[in-house]
């Protein structure tokens, strides 16, 4: 699995609840060289947690093994996902006019692709937030929320919408590079915060955003370079 952008809407809770072995789980910490028979588990071998290289392994309980409370999503993760939805929504607003204002097929195709991939990611982010009971921003093009890094100012947006043909293409590429670069800044800012970006789904999502946006930036830079000098 490379970039698991997982769709995880949660319209209903899983009805299955595995019956847990009743009783408390004691914290056995015997040396792992001779793990004692686990009294805490009804059957099967004990759960072993190795140490750092050269350190001994130890036996842990199921409760210890599945205590992921410390790597759950943080408030910063939630703000990141909420902000990124607005950020992606602006990319949709930028891509939309390309079909009738863009000059080249290359830019139109690129805009279509950006539109599709960002919609897919917006869906994923909305589902991630919903599954966690957090506020889910809608994609409202007219909504002028807080400007996240790299987002076009209202003036820049107006400039783009007023442009036609090759002028549109140049502005589109320049602004989309600026816009995508902002997404990288957002990831960077998130990862600089304590315990952020560690929940497995968001970790995978971030890796995906970085890979995709950087690749698209490279591609757009190449397209800009290939444009006639006077239009750059």
């Amino acid at each position: 699995m490379y970039d698991p952008v997982v769709r995880i809407p949660s319209r209903s809770m899983v009805p299955v609840a595995l019956l847990l072995a009743a009783g408390t789980l004691s914290c056995a910490t015997t040396g792992a060289s001779a793990p004692t028979a686990p009294s805490t588990q009804s059957d099967g071998p004990p759960i072993i947690q190795p140490g750092a290289p050269g350190q001994p392994s130890r036996q842990i309980t199921r409760a210890e093994a599945t205590d992921l409370s410390a790597i759950e999503h943080t408030a910063a993760d939630v703000r990141f996902m909420q902000g990124m939805i607005g950020h992606h929504a602006q990319a949709l607003a930028m891509a939309e006019p390309a079909s009738d204002r863009g000059g080249s097929d290359g830019v139109k195709l690129l805009a279509q692709r950006i539109d599709l991939s960002q919609q897919d990611e917006i869906r994923m982010m909305q589902e991630w937030l919903a599954a966690r009971g957090e506020d889910v921003p809608s994609v409202d093009h007219s909504h002028s929320g807080m400007l996240m890094p790299g987002m076009l100012t209202p003036e820049q947006m107006a400039e783009l919408l007023a442009a036609r043909g090759a002028d549109f293409d140049t502005l589109f590429l320049r602004f989309m590079i600026q816009h995508h670069n902002g997404a990288l800044t957002m990831v960077n800012d998130l990862l600089a915060q304590p315990a952020a970006g560690q929940e497995t789904t968001i970790a995978a999502f971030i890796a995906d955003v970085v890979a995709d946006q950087r690749a698209e930036m490279d591609r757009m830079a190449a397209m800009l370079r290939d444009m006639p000098e006077e239009e750059r």
Partner: protein, 637 residues
């Protein structure tokens, strides 16, 4: 329920509207019993053809969220307290903590490896060891918790290697993550465990890498008894140089405002991108394992530009957009051939690994249907490579009736004079639902002599066994599929990997656990062929480290070739009967051995002569049958 019945019809309608599926194939899909399977985590509908599930084991304790075993994120019952609630919290110490939401991918089963009577199954959360002495009664033998994703494993002797990439992963295998952006406690790279005591493995080394380890490939150099090598493929973010010296390409976490990236800037010659890592593991002192080279295998051989391969983007109107080639996702080595095949984002590459520390790229290909070159498998002769395309990353439904048959598929190449020549595609033929993540994923060869056959996991598309003896016309011969984990939502599941090992097929199910299968004879595969495949045993199997298989000269192998020739109308009835009678005499042990020997040798000569008149697969199978008969004759006394 009506929805479930209606869905396949809707999908087929969509398909024919889009023109992606012809009417005849749509009709054949309609009769495919994989369409319309009921959803369920433990009670999903099942379709199987020519293969039988003989054992299934749910994920063990410690490897699933007890409150959401299928892996669905849990919705917290109360919203998070506001940031300034610290003071309030003190006033209400009795308030119970809300359960944390969701395990996401935290307990995903991943890739696996085999040694002797044991199967080692990787997981984002660690790995499990199963005893498979009797595969139909496989049992859990050990559970090791050491989180970090994805948990790709290989085994060699008393060592187990494990890939780790997540930023939460800790050197000490702790489950608590690493809070600081830069920390000496973080581990991203390849862990090495001593598994001499299977029930209590010890971590003996942890080789840190700049991009972590997404997958790794064991390389056993036939000329080096003292070391083994690992080719490490890191695909995630570059870590800061402050955390691991020498890493270049990460954003500066201390920067107030992240510097604007200049996409026009030339590639930093020291970047941690655009390379693979070669790790040397000294077998006597595995704790001294280290990176010994980071070859620039994507370099332009003329200009030296390290980003010399696919730059990312589509291949023209209506084509797929392929990822930029700045890393490999997976590499499969075939040391006996001196070759490795790299599935590297935007390219498939072929490496000469005669010197494992300094691999040399000898060929590279692109494909306008591939989004992301994901993995590679050689055929046993080393004359073909099957590459997979993980379009959608493995978490998206990419086997719907509306999805192109050549996207998210396998591409099969012949190797001719060291160059790869495209021959054909193979994609799971049965359409899957929107609720099933599905795309080509990991598989291995089934060693049926005389044929190229592969078993492959397609996530929630199930497993598919197909014959690619004719590279341009791969055909499915068996399958197993369950309905989606959930009827409404896409919950990640299905086969990460499906591999053959010493007579059985094993499937690593992301959400549900471990499955064991046995092949059933059919018009596509005879009992002789199944029995012959089971004779090709190995004591250690790491699928990305291919070892050439050979078969003993025994009657059942000859009968496997005979079945193939008969199926392919490549042998006359008289000849077939004569060979069958001769083998019967050998097996009965009745008769004079000199006469039997002479019979077999004569038949071998006749078959050789027949082969000169035959074509393609029949020709090679006649030669193989002749060789086996000669071998049997030579054994007779």
């Amino acid at each position: 329920m009506t929805l479930q019945i209606a869905r396949p019809v809707v999908l087929l309608l969509c398909a024919s509207l889009l023109g992606g599926v012809s009417v005849s194939s749509a009709q054949s899909q309609q009769s495919d019993d994989r369409v319309g399977l009921a959803a369920g985590f433990r009670d999903a509908g099942v379709a199987a053809r020519n293969i039988e599930l003989v054992r299934t084991l749910a994920k063990p304790d410690g490897f699933f969220d007890p409150e959401a075993p299928a892996g669905r994120p849990r919705r917290p019952p109360v919203p998070d307290p506001p940031a300034d609630a610290a003071a309030d919290a003190e006033a209400q110490p009795a308030a119970p903590q809300p359960p944390a939401p969701g395990s996401g991918l935290s307990y995903t089963n991943t890739d696996f490896a085999f040694q002797g009577d044991h199967l080692f199954l990787g997981n984002y959360h660690g790995f499990n060891v199963y005893s498979i002495e009797d595969p139909t009664r496989a049992e859990l033998a050990a559970s090791i918790v050491c989180p970090g994703g994805q948990g790709d494993v290989s085994v060699y002797g008393n060592l187990l290697f494990m890939s780790v990439q997540d930023t939460r992963a800790r050197l000490d295998c702790g489950v608590q993550g690493v809070a600081e952006p830069v920390s000496p406690e973080r581990f991203r790279g390849v862990r090495i465990f001593d598994i001499s005591d299977l029930r209590a493995p010890q971590q003996v080394a942890a080789v840190q890498t700049c991009r972590g380890s997404h997958t790794h490939t064991l390389i056993v150099d036939p000329d080096d008894d003292a070391n083994v090598f690992l080719y490490n493929s890191g695909t995630s973010s570059v870590r800061p140089g402050q955390e691991l010296a020498g890493c270049v390409g990460a954003p500066d976490p201390d920067a107030e405002e992240s510097a604007e990236e200049d996409p026009d800037a030339p590639v930093d010659p020291n970047t941690s991108l655009f390379s693979i890592d070669v790790i040397q593991v000294p077998l006597a002192e595995p704790e001294r394992s280290r990176i010994v080279s980071s070859p620039r295998v994507f370099a332009n051989l003329e200009t030296g530009d390290i980003s010399g391969l696919w730059p990312g983007g589509d291949h023209g109107q209506g084509t797929q957009s392929s990822r930029e080639t700045r890393q490999c996702h997976d590499i499969t080595a075939y040391p006996e051939m001196g070759l490795a095949a790299g599935a590297c984002s935007g390219n498939g590459i072929l490496l000469d690994i005669s010197d494992p520390v300094n691999p040399v790229r000898i060929d590279h290909v692109v494909d306008d249907a591939f989004a992301f070159w994901h993995s590679a498998t050689f055929n046993n002769d080393g004359t073909k490579i099957v590459f997979t395309d993980e379009w959608g990353g493995g978490s998206r439904p990419r086997c719907r009736a509306s999805d192109p048959k050549t996207w998210g598929a396998n591409a099969i190449f012949d190797i001719v004079d060291g160059k790869m020549r495209f021959k054909g595609y193979y994609k799971l033929p049965a359409p899957q639902t929107e609720q099933e993540n599905c795309v080509a994923h990991n598989g291995s060869l089934i060693p049926v002599p005389g044929r190229d056959i592969m078993v492959q996991g397609w996530y929630q598309g199930g497993l598919s066994i197909y014959d690619f003896s004719d590279s341009a016309h791969a055909v499915e011969i068996a399958y197993f599929d369950r309905g989606p984990v959930d009827a409404n939502d896409l919950i990640s599941g299905g086969y990460w990997s499906a591999y053959w090992y010493n007579g059985h097929v094993y499937g690593a199910e992301i959400a549900r656990g471990l499955d064991v299968f046995r092949l059933l004879p059919s018009e596509h595969l005879s009992q002789n062929e199944i029995d012959a495949a089971a004779l090709a045993t190995a004591n250690e199997v790491n699928v990305q480290h291919q070892q050439q298989v050979s078969w003993p000269d025994v009657p059942v192998v000859a009968r496997a070739y005979m079945d193939q020739l008969e199926r392919g109308h490549g042998i006359g009835m008289d000849r077939l009967t004569a060979v069958g009678d001769a083998l019967d005499r050998v097996e009965s042990g009745v008769g004079e051995s000199t006469a039997m020997k002479a019979d077999l040798d004569q038949l071998a000569a006749d078959l050789q002569a027949d082969s000169e008149e035959a074509f393609a697969l029949n020709q090679s199978r006649l030669v193989l049958l002749a060789g086996t008969l000669s071998g049997i004759a030579a054994e007779l006394r």
